[in-house]
Symmetry: C2
Subunit: 348 residues, 2 copies
């Protein structure tokens, strides 16, 4: 026949004409209205008509264009995920949880890693907004750090996940105090009475949350801490190793249990205890924090540790953002999500 009707000047897609709902309508001899309604289950029409349209769509392998729908409905079914952590271990499960929760509701996730530079960060946010994301999740690698972007003027809902947000925002964090209490209560249950706490640098908020939980649980059990203050160091194995010396020397009675601020410290501590001929958990029980499998499961003996349920946290954040996007009421504030204790051999 003759040339096809004039098309947009941009030309056809490289891989041959794509099939649209017009093609489906034509193939099943109905209007596009009917075709659209048949496929979406809307409207009323003869069952036979609906089936005929569906069959035609299948035969043509029709794939509805979500971009066209988004333009019309003013809703992209897309959200933006901002993270400032590309190597770390915390954002990854959070991201997986978000992605899982949303993908199942037909929402796709734009991943965007914002580094230190606020100018670049802002341009990434702008790009998301131009792409009409329905909402944004800001996630970080530290509970107490902010992303280097200003989300206050943004006209879509924002949820913070494992990341500090501004006053009045909606956010989710792990309840590190509760996690610490869980750990200490478990040690007390096992009969431990002289429990020490070895942890990371004081400029981390989690160090304080965990120390508070530690102190509260001891008090609840009517015990005094084996040291007035937690032993502060860094997050490394080397520090855990060194801390063993500080704990065992001096006039005070040695501890019969140590609650560590993270798994690496616990690992170093266990190594040092073992080297000194002490048995874990018989002489000293040890609990870590993070449940970083690569450490917790490789430690001899395997490490009892607090898991922050980060994937769950991500799932909550995703679902809550969806509530906000779809206009369901959500009260502002930071929600603390409970941790769980993963019991392995190091605590008996």
């Amino acid at each position: 026949m003759d040339d096809r009707a004039p098309r947009a000047a941009t030309g056809r897609a490289k891989r041959g004409a794509r099939v649209t709902i017009h093609d489906v309508a034509k193939a099943s001899s109905v209007s596009v209205t009917t075709a659209s309604q048949a496929l979406s289950g809307q409207g009323r029409m003869a069952l036979a008509t609906r089936e005929r349209v569906k069959a035609a769509a299948k035969a043509l392998s029709f794939r509805p264009n979500a971009i066209a729908r988004a333009l019309l409905k003013q809703r992209s079914f897309t959200i933006g995920l901002l993270t400032n952590d590309t190597y770390g271990r915390f954002t990854l499960p959070v991201m997986a949880g978000i992605s899982e929760a949303l993908v199942d509701r037909g929402v796709s996730v734009f991943l965007c890693s914002v580094e230190r530079d606020p100018v670049i960060g802002q341009s990434h946010v702008d790009a998301m907004l131009e792409k009409q994301v329905d909402g944004i999740i800001a996630s970080g690698k530290r509970l107490d750090s902010r992303l280097p972007v200003d989300l206050s003027g943004v006209d879509v809902p924002v949820v913070y996940a494992y990341c500090e947000g501004p006053e009045g925002s909606v956010g989710f964090v792990s309840d590190d105090g509760q996690g610490a209490r869980l750990a200490v209560a478990h040690l007390v249950d096992r009969g431990c009475r002289r429990i020490a706490h070895v942890t990371g640098p004081e400029d981390f908020a989690v160090v304080h949350r965990r120390a508070e939980g530690f102190a509260a649980a001891l008090a609840a059990a009517g015990l005094a801490p084996v040291r007035a203050e937690p032993l502060i160091g860094d997050w490394s194995e080397a520090w855990g190793f060194a801390a063993a010396g500080a704990l065992l020397e001096g006039p005070a009675a040695p501890p019969d249990a140590v609650f560590c601020g993270n798994d690496q410290i616990a690992r170093g501590l266990i190594d040092a205890l073992t080297l000194r001929g002490l048995r874990v958990p018989q002489d000293v029980a040890v609990i870590g924090f993070d449940n970083w499998e690569i450490f917790a499961a490789a430690t001899r003996p395997p490490l009892t540790t607090v898991d922050m349920n980060l994937k769950d946290l991500g799932r909550h954040a995703g679902l809550t953002l969806l509530d906000l996007v779809e206009g369901r009421p959500v009260s502002p504030g930071i929600r603390k999500l409970p941790c769980r204790l993963v019991v392995r051999a190091s605590s008996g």
Copy 2:
């Protein structure tokens, strides 16, 4: 005045009318054609007009709707990133590299983690396709594993990154053989002559690539391996620890260097050597593979190791997908990208 003209039945966005190019045109008293061209730098018009339009856009904080542009241009400036690894360490830098390379070209990345289930995986791919992604990157946690999705019928370009693809596809992997040669050549340079290889399970392709590189580099230096075969175990510290025993016992002369299949094995091996009173690197030099900072930097002494440049690999994959999307020629095949040696104290 009177009510605003009838709008689409879906109603306005919740947060007040969004500003469109019509608003900008009206505010600067030009047609939408001129407004569009003024903002995009196209067309020819009085400089003053262009400036006036730009000023109006800025004053109204006009944000062009990328969805509308995508519908018109048949190009979404969006790609899909499939990964089957949500906790591991390899995909993360690959993803960061992809994301970085593309975000800088105005392309956003849909993150989608596909677990084992092929049905779910396929539905995620369908969702991406409905959202009109310009292309797809499949990335995995193992060089020799495939994603549980069939990408062969997909009508957009696909690139594989640290992941096995089908015959004739475009992919990027690390050159583990070259990485191993780098490590051994370095040891030879340092004067080592009896070099052993301790590595992971045989069903990993990388185990063979690294062992081949090891053998080739020894041969090139005119050296015989201290053992006929590499010592095969798993990827754990425990195995590295145990391997030290196997290496030092028996009639053969002990090695003066060990090239390990990963950093965890190296870590365990160093621990065992140290425990036996051997000095690293003076008595035995040790090199790892992966450059997993948390292990490599924490080892005593810090570990010399092979870095696979995964972020770079991701960047290449992203840029190549863009080439494909934009119609530039790309020859099919798997490209091996070089590793680099990160020298620390464990090799002298």
